[in-house]
Amino acid sequence: MKRTVSIATAYFLAIATFLPTPLQAADAPSCPLTLYTSLPLTTNPDGRVSVPVTVQDKNYSFLVDTGGAVATIGWDQAEELGLEKKRAGTWLGGVGGRVMNTYITTDRFSLGKLTGSGLEAYVQPRSMDGFDGTLAPDMLKHYDVDLDFAHGKMNLFSQDHCPGKVLYWTKGDYVVLPMQVAPSSHIRLPVTVDGKTIMAIVDTGAVSSIMSMHAANFLGVSEDSPGLKLKTSEGYDRQTRIYSYPFKTLQMGDITVKNPRITVASNEFMGAVGNDMILGMGILRQLHLYIAYKEQKFYITPAGAN
């Protein structure tokens, strides 16, 4: 469950004193992209990625979480920074049931060549494995976010560019999808699973892709379907049930993913998440993503396209 909360309004980082780097879209030599900053990706063992940030001049590694709402920071890191933890007006929840109801305000925050102050970050109640905090759409949505997993880079570009002229890394084939930016700033895309189209959230903070039973029912899968296998049941009276199912294809525009790994979760679980499907890193890592928040377009090529 990821809720937009009141403490953290949209957070925009100023460009530090440097000359932004112009890049040419591969098919539009007269229409440059302006690169604000380029950050190396660190691959977590589960396949998710984080980037280096500095908070109060200390170095940390923050998970790139397009499925989040606002920035968060680990409990240990907040303690280390010694910043006052303030009670938030409302709580923020994440998948896994962690409830966050305190936040800190930083004086100095930087992301590569971008710097800012006054970032409000919710404090995670427990330590997080492999990263120190999370970057969420409250910050990311002010840029074009280019995720080049195969080459280990996240680039942030200016949103001021010619419409559609962003494919700087390839002259080859690509897909462009219309995307909805929800009030929570989550990215919603149409995906077609086994021939039927549903909306999915693009969530780089999710290890794997997951679908509600409600959506599975729409696709013709029910709890009686022979291919549906119970993987685990958890929670009080085991109400939360997770299944595997052998979906055949997932399509995003003209991209077809064969045998996609999509877990089916009981509606109690996905009801808390608030969406019918989450597209997680198991699939996203195979692609090169360019998220044009302002343009509301989502560009995709294979991960190694050039």
């Binding site: 691959t43 993913v257 045998n259 692609l287 190694g304």
Partner: protein, 268 residues
């Protein structure tokens, strides 16, 4: 706008995305590791490393995941070289140091585990989990006074019912009561039934009945903590089959099978 036509066959045997061979196979290996399909993870991560074209960060991730796969499949000795290789890229990585400590414990090198955890503790002195793990390693090294002191410190700073359980075990083992430990406030939530067992308010049968309304992982914990309770009270014969069940049934990435294996190794 150009239209495209390509197929990305993910996690299928026909893997066709056009990128370096190492990156493709790394992703397959990561997926197998996430599924805890350890043998396949070891196979594919080995292929990824052998391809020789991974970025340094990706090679670190491959070594780290292969180490986890070896450890998860009960081969901690084989995991340690891969943990070392991953740490060569990021020597102060808290998570890798912590997991290498687990492997050291499982491989019978408690002092090296303690050294790794102390290094993490210096970086994260207030991290409850690390302090908890240091307590567990002291327990496996047969130092109940040290483990009791560590668990007691945790209960003073935070509400950790598990630290309280281990404090009770440590106290029982060293036959001395820690007076100033903060007891759990409520036993409504898990591991409440175990807290009640250690307080003498419930018997084992009642705990095993209660746990049915929780999940598999709680059932596994119940068996393990009942076994530990039997051990400190001298019932080795009664503890042994439950420890074996914990080794067999608990998720391999959790603490309980590791600790159960250590206890079994000490029993005749």
């Amino acid at each position: 706008m150009r239209k495209i036509l390509f197929a990305a066959a993910l996690l299928a045997t026909s893997f066709t995305v056009a990128v370096g061979a190492g990156y493709d196979t790394l992703n397959v290996g990561i997926q197998y590791a996430n599924d805890e399909a350890w043998d396949n993870a070891i196979l594919w991560l080995g292929k990824a490393l052998d391809a020789g074209d991974l970025l340094p960060d990706q090679a670190r991730a491959a070594h780290y995941n292969r180490a986890r796969a070896y450890a998860g499949s009960g081969r901690p000795g084989a995991a340690i070289p891969d943990f070392n290789a991953a740490l060569a890229f990021t020597p102060d990585d808290v998570q890798i140091l912590t997991e290498r400590a687990f492997a050291y414990v499982a491989d019978g090198h408690g002092d090296q585990a303690l050294a790794d955890l102390q290094k993490v503790h210096e970086k994260r002195p207030k991290n409850v989990r690390i302090n908890f793990l240091i307590g567990l390693v002291n327990w496996t090294l047969g130092r109940p006074d040290d483990s009791a002191r560590g668990f007691a410190d945790i209960t003073k700073d935070s509400r950790s019912d598990y630290a309280w359980l281990w404090l009770k075990l440590s106290d029982a083992k060293r036959k001395s009561e820690t007076g100033d430990a903060r007891a759990p406030l409520s036993t409504y939530y898990w591991p409440g039934p175990l807290v009640d067992l250690y307080r003498g308010k419930k018997d084992e049968a009642r705990v095993l009945e209660d746990v049915k309304s929780y999940g598999d992982s709680q059932n596994c914990e119940a068996i393990f903590y009942i076994a530990e309770w039997r051990l400190v009270r001298g019932d080795r014969a009664g503890a042994k089959p439950m420890l074996q069940k914990a080794v067999n049934d608990c998720p391999k990435t959790s603490v309980e099978p590791l600790m159960a294996q250590q206890e079994l190794g000490k029993l005749p």
